[in-house]
Amino acid sequence: MDRRIVLRHDAEPMAAASRPSPIAWLIAPALLLFVLFFVLPFGVMAVMSVFSGNPVTNPNAFLTTRHYMRFIADDAGIFHDALWATLRIGLVTTVVSLLIGYPLAHWMARMQSRLGHVLVLMAVIAPLLTGIVVRTFAWMTILQDKGVINTTLMSWGLIHKPLPLMYNEFGTTVALVHIYVPFMVLTLTGVIGRIDERLEQAARSLGAGRLRAFVEVTLPLSLPGVLAGSLLVFALSISAYVTPSLMGGTDVLTLPMLIAQQVGTSFNPNFAGALGMILLLVCLVIVIAYNKILARLSGEKGLA
């Protein structure tokens, strides 16, 4: 596991590897917060997902697996599609966010001027601060048939019919990427910033081109940040529902959108709870797998 334990300054060699250190207690506040505000409410949600109604307000509610069965059977033919759509949009959003976010993070981290750094930081964060509602409407203005892109392209005679940029997965993904790139950038910039530039310079002075030095030195060292950022963006994009609802029309139906519909217009919090549990389960599996990869890669890389 952690080979560095051997060098710990509290001078307890190998034995320390099996015993938690006092620092472990620092987990206590987080644990308390989560138990009170996450585990308990989710206990409530899990209970709801196996009842026919709300057991607290409805004495006639009974235990049932029908909500889970409904999802698994998928008579309507839309539930499984919704799950795949969710994962697919999540994956695409993550990859694109990474492709956009990495160069920005690298630029920001390597920037010499403090002022430049702050300016880019502001620019990166500003999209997040517009607020989910307004940001979505800004994208509508850009992507609509009568929006900026289409009117400009048509006035230049490049196209004759408006491009369908909205009310589909494309528009949804663009809007989601836009929201999540800042998260990717902020996660990566801290990690990249900590990578000693002289390592890259050493590689270059040994004859490697800039690109090669980047690919073989900086990139591998930034991997923990890449994985952390990807995980964050993935988790966020698979649970998003406001943006896909506003941008996707009916072309896009994700599991979170379905959950929101069940809560807000079908008034079926029990089925919504079951869907939520299913989503959570699928994602926990993915996250745990990611973490195993992260641990293995970090362990192998160690220090240069």
Partner: protein, 271 residues
């Protein structure tokens, strides 16, 4: 400590790199430019190209007590959440990275799970629990709910920085006679600052922009800005929401600037 200066007068590689980044920044900022246009455009619906410049939406925004109360409430809550999330999340990250806990992978996944669940369920679950327990919908309940969602971010960024951390610096300090506590405050903390700062910024933004959880937990006259904006938008989709957006961007950026000065990214100390 600084990069090797380029000897060539024009460096195509570097130019391409900077251009790429500027284009990407453009992608990020384009919608904001639109919002800006929208905020000054007098027509009460989204139209492009704009027809003029007018301050009516800003007037409407500042004159509305709904909007103003919501703005201050959101800022206040976000500030509380920032502090709470950074402390709780930072401590948790240290515990996970250094505490040698059994089941680290599980705990990490556990603490990340609020992110994976659609916030509408988190909001509904908390709402039901609060009602069950009988505490109603107090502001601190809203703050704790936001903190719950913010902690995973702080955790993630701080862990990422801790992973890449050169422990030998701490060991060197210890060898030179510093106590563990001193090592922590004078060596560790400053060096993980970028991660903590990023996490803090996240926490603030996540709380300020939070919508689905707030939806269930706000009370009449105690609504956060995103909730007020969303409800406003359902009936009156006009420039007032763009004006609200512009104002909140500026205020929030001011907060981030202050944060940057205090905690700062200047901790790129290289030894």
């Amino acid at each position: 400590m600084s990069a090797v200066p380029n000897k060539m007068p024009f460096d195509p590689g570097r130019a391409a790199y900077v251009t790429l980044n500027v284009v990407l920044l453009g992608f990020l900022l384009a919608p904001i430019a639109i919002v800006l246009v929208f905020a000054f455009n007098p027509t009460p619906y989204i139209s492009f190209p704009p027809v003029g410049v007018s301050l009516r939406w800003f007037d409407k925004f500042f004159a509305s007590s709904d909007f103003m109360n919501a703005l201050w409430l959101s800022l206040w809550i976000a500030a509380c959440v920032l502090v709470l999330a950074v402390v709780i999340g930072g401590a948790c990250a240290l515990a996970l990275a250094r505490g040698n806990l059994p089941g680290r992978g599980f705990f990490t996944a556990f603490f990340m799970s609020p992110l994976m669940l659609p916030a509408i369920l988190t909001g509904l679950a908390l709402f039901q629990s609060y009602l069950l327990v009988g505490i109603g919908r107090p502001v601190w309940g809203l703050i704790m709910a936001h903190t719950l969602i913010a902690v995973p971010y702080v955790l993630r960024t701080t862990l990422a920085v801790l992973h890449n951390f050169d422990r030998r610096i701490e060991e060197a300090a210890a060898v030179l006679g510093a106590s563990p506590l001193r090592v922590f405050f004078e060596v560790t903390l400053p060096l993980i600052r970028p991660g903590v700062f990023a996490g803090g910024v996240f926490a603030f933004i996540v709380s300020f922009d939070q919508f689905p959880v707030s939806l269930f937990l706000v009370v009449p006259k105690g609504e956060t800005l995103p909730v007020v904006l969303f409800n406003y938008m359902k009936f009156d989709l006009d420039g007032a929401i763009a004006a609200a957006s512009m104002v909140s961007i500026l205020l929030a950026l001011a907060v981030v600037l202050v944060l940057e000065r205090l905690i700062g990214l200047k901790a790129y100390v290289k030894l």
